[in-house]
């Protein structure tokens, strides 16, 4: 098992409506906030198909493809990937 962590963020210049709504909420609570940008964070647990170092590399490469094809919208988003061996902190569902 390997866990890949994926961070998807909006490209600069794309209006971030959720970010603006959160900024407004924070300001209403009295916080001074210049800007808020919102991204998505995913932890993906994939089966291990290689050993050691190679696990992480293989998983990363696959995750990159997932992002390009599905997880991100390349028109508006960019992504970063980090792969770690092992599952996520919780137990997987049956």
């Amino acid at each position: 098992m390997a866990t890949v962590k994926v961070l998807i963020t909006l490209k600069p210049g794309v209006l971030d409506a959720p970010g603006q709504a959160i900024r407004q909420g924070l300001r209403a609570l009295g916080y001074e906030v210049e800007e808020v940008r919102v991204g998505k964070y995913l932890e993906i647990v994939v089966p291990e198909r290689a050993a050691g170092e190679a696990v992480a590399n293989a998983a990363s490469a696959e995750a990159d493809e997932m992002c390009a094809r599905f997880l991100a919208n390349p028109l508006i988003e960019t992504w970063q990937i980090a792969a770690l061996p092992g599952g996520v902190g919780s137990e997987p569902p049956a």
């Binding site: 959720p18 709504a21 959160i22 909420g25 209403a28 609570l29 919780s90 137990e91 569902p93 049956a94």
Partner: protein
Amino acid sequence: MTAPVRLHDGVRLSDALPAEVNLTAEEYRAICASLGRAPNEVERHCFEVMWSEHCAYKHSREILRRLPTAGARVLQGPGENAGVVDLGEGWAVVWKMESHNHPSAVDPYHGAATGVGGIIRDVLAMGARPIALLDSLRFGPLDDVRARRLLHGVVGGIAGYGNSIGIPTVGGEVAVDPAYRENPLVNVACLGLVRSDRIARGRADPPGAVLLYAGARTGRDGIGGAAFASDALDAETEPSDRAAVQIGDPFAGKCLVEATLEALGTGHVLGLQDMGAGGLTCAAAEMAARSGRGVVINLDRVPCRESGMTSREILLSESQERMLLVAAAEHVEVLASIFRRWGLVADVVGRVTEDGRFQVQAGGASVADLPAALLTHAPSRRVVPVPPSTDGVEASRARPPLRDPTRMLLRLLATPEVCGKQPIFEQYDHMVQVRTVVRPGFGAAVLRLPESPPRGLALTVDGNGRWCAVDPYGGAAASVLEAAANLACVGAEPLAVTDCLNFASPEVPEVFWTFVRAVDGIAAACRALDVPVVGGNVSFYNEGPGGSILPTPVVAMVGLIPDVRGAPPPAAEGDGLILLGAPEAALGGSLYAREAWGNHGGALFAVDFPAAARTLACVREAVRRGVIALAHDVSDGGLAVALAECCLALGSGADILLPAAERTDAALFGEGGTRIVCAVPRARLPDVRALALEHDVPLAVLGTLGGRLLQIHGIVLGLDQIRRAWMRLGSVI
């Protein structure tokens, strides 16, 4: 839609969750006596949940018997998952309201969302397709940022769940009071439609049939939720565990609705119930007890989301989007495959027995073995009701005279109760299912019934904590009359009521008294109008460290319209504005008293049922005959506010001359019995007069429609000024 930002507000959980035994010594003794032994730990937890106020109605059961629940059209009254009322022509409506107050205080988004999900599945459990939702909301005053965040989160949660699951939210109401600051009220009603020969029931029968679990997997969420709903909110204690927060998945909810309806369509479903409060335990025990049967459940077969869940957790989890079905063994595969096709899990988890026992097995051993009927029949708790002393009311009688009626009208128009609710209902999909003939925004919503054209249904929800604080009997009765007035204004005849009774601790004799009086008020009004109460919900312990909520019975009413095609005649310059109904009004419990004096302002107007019934019949007939252009009931803010709202609705000013009155404030802003403002084309006035005469209803001509100004008794306001004040909610949420 991605999940909107959830606005958490840091309310703390109660510490009264069952760390120790959540039963009284007396209840525990009763259990031991009945069993002839002490319950084991798992069994005790089941009792704690099943005998909680939320599940068992310990304080309210006896009193609720006073409500009229029978009627020629009633196919199912209280006692099942929801009430059912016959529409004729082979169709029936299912009608039920539920509160989700405490979960919404702790997590407004998920609390409200799961409230919506829960009431939808209660309606689904009767075999009906859910076709509409209404929401009745109460918060602290909205100048407080915390109240605004609660409102924002709650509306977001209702929208998030209701929109996604594809059931239109077609109406509701909003009210504020400092008494709701720590304990907001979130009541949601759901209407369903079912063929009258296809009504499902929450029964486990016959012996030998199997229990089919269907929907989402069971996780550790919401364990003890029912007990949580039965405790007062306490701000002092630390956030307890996540168990008290349930998270809904409207996507799974939508798939569950479709799969369940498809399963029902096979004709093989013998019994059906939602796993809501009390989870699997409550669903299985209630189904068994209703049919005098027993059940055996094998916990090893319950689909779990997490590994290592204990028996107690599986039995009492309140994970959302789960149903329990009863079917003959030979039909189970057909049913299960329907759920699986919708991406849901479906597994046999037990079977029906003859012996009336609720038996649970896990890992090959018995973990619980109890009489099902004992679980579902907690002993009643009796409290002697004591009327509260009236000292407080006397002391609050500072009532300076009205100085500036124009400013007061603007102020009232901008209150959360009166102002335009567009910023709320535009966040709700109120059109999906293409039934919504009259959308939210002005009185009752109207849905068409393509199943039985040209008929339609009208829906409304009304409650008034201020009135009930002054007089719980009169206030509750007047809420029923107001709901009926809203229906009459669209030509609908009341079919059925469902109610949510929101009160503080029933263990306090004065609170209990207000509860009893409110039930009596609803009962009297429903008898007077001949409308049955087919179901509802009691929510006690609505209080925080700062005090109790106002006594708040909320009434949702559904009515039948024989023909929804008839459009009213268009309104025009020179149309008459008239008032049908008793002209008297009082300031006790009025919005004006709150805004002008900061108190409840003395005694409530006296309700007059026969007069109200006559007025309603007259208005209904006038609307159906198409002799009036617009009908609007006078409620919050009195006559002046109702007239201003008519002006907004018609886009016209009006020239009004009120009959001479003792007090200007009461004449303009007093709230009273059933009164309806109507805009009537000149040529139709004689018809309306004749109807009023026939029904013995007082009719007063108030003035005429026209121009761009509203003028009443020294009030002069442009339409734009009125609109600006009334549109204030947009700047708040």
